[in-house]
């Protein structure tokens, strides 16, 4: 259950290997990447910054919440800060579980929570030279509804 902030490219393969478990039937990964377009504007790069101490403690807390709330074995996440080029990975999340449904849910929960509450900020730098801080989340949003039916939860 590791959450970290790094100013180097995220070593996603190493992070994934750290999560391996012989009890795990399913692994779900999410990567948030720098994309070329944002709300119709052409992006040149993204600058991320964090309030690192609080970001790491809040990140560990939300990973623990994911482990408490879902039937998964382990979860980890890394967020990059600094200047990121197009296509680079800004955030990586990995979850291993005995069965797949909870691994999907826990992974979606983690990215929802990271976006909602971890003190990290993003400045979009556009191809035309302009730049602006993105006014992100001040509330919660989720990929999946919390009360939805989950079939086949006993298969991986």
């Amino acid at each position: 259950m590791l959450f970290s902030i790094t100013d180097h490219p995220i070593r996603t393969q190493k992070r994934k290997r750290d999560l391996e478990s012989l009890e795990a039937g399913g692994y779900v990964e999410f990567e948030g990447r720098v994309r070329k377009h944002s709300h119709g504007r052409e992006v040149q790069r993204l600058d991320y910054e964090s309030y690192q101490t609080l970001a790491e403690s809040e990140g560990r807390e939300l990973l623990q919440e994911a482990l408490d709330r879902f039937d998964v074995i382990d979860a980890a996440a890394v967020h990059r800060v600094g200047s990121l080029d197009l296509g680079e990975v800004a955030v990586w999340i990995g979850v291993v579980g005995v069965h797949r449904a909870d691994a999907f849910r826990a992974c979606a929960f983690c990215i929802d929570e990271i976006k909602a509450r971890v003190p990290i900020w993003k400045r979009e730098v556009y191809a035309n030279g302009e730049a602006e801080w993105i006014n992100g989340c001040s509330g919660h949003g989720s990929v999946f509804a919390s009360d939805e039916a989950v079939a086949h939860s006993h298969e991986s």
């Binding site: 964090s50 003190p119 992100g136």
Partner: protein, 96 residues
Amino acid sequence: MSTPDGPTTAPQATTEARSVQVQYYAQLREDAGRSEETVQSTAGTVDELFEELNRRYDFSVAKDDMRVAVNDSFSDWETSLDSQDLVVFIPPVAGG
């Protein structure tokens, strides 16, 4: 409620000024023109400190859209300030 002029006329000021650390991130860093500073303030609460600094820097993010952290934990705007506290105002986050 309105005391538009001067940091020395802040409401509910106590007689003794405290020394607190303030860090600025993202838009607030640009507004303040610095990433951290030591502030001598008579503010009794985090909220009063924010108002004092907002008069100085005219932050472009509304307080209602922000959270606040004291000593590396999310905190309440009504938290009372102690000497040497680290205060961080947190504009809407945008990780991911």
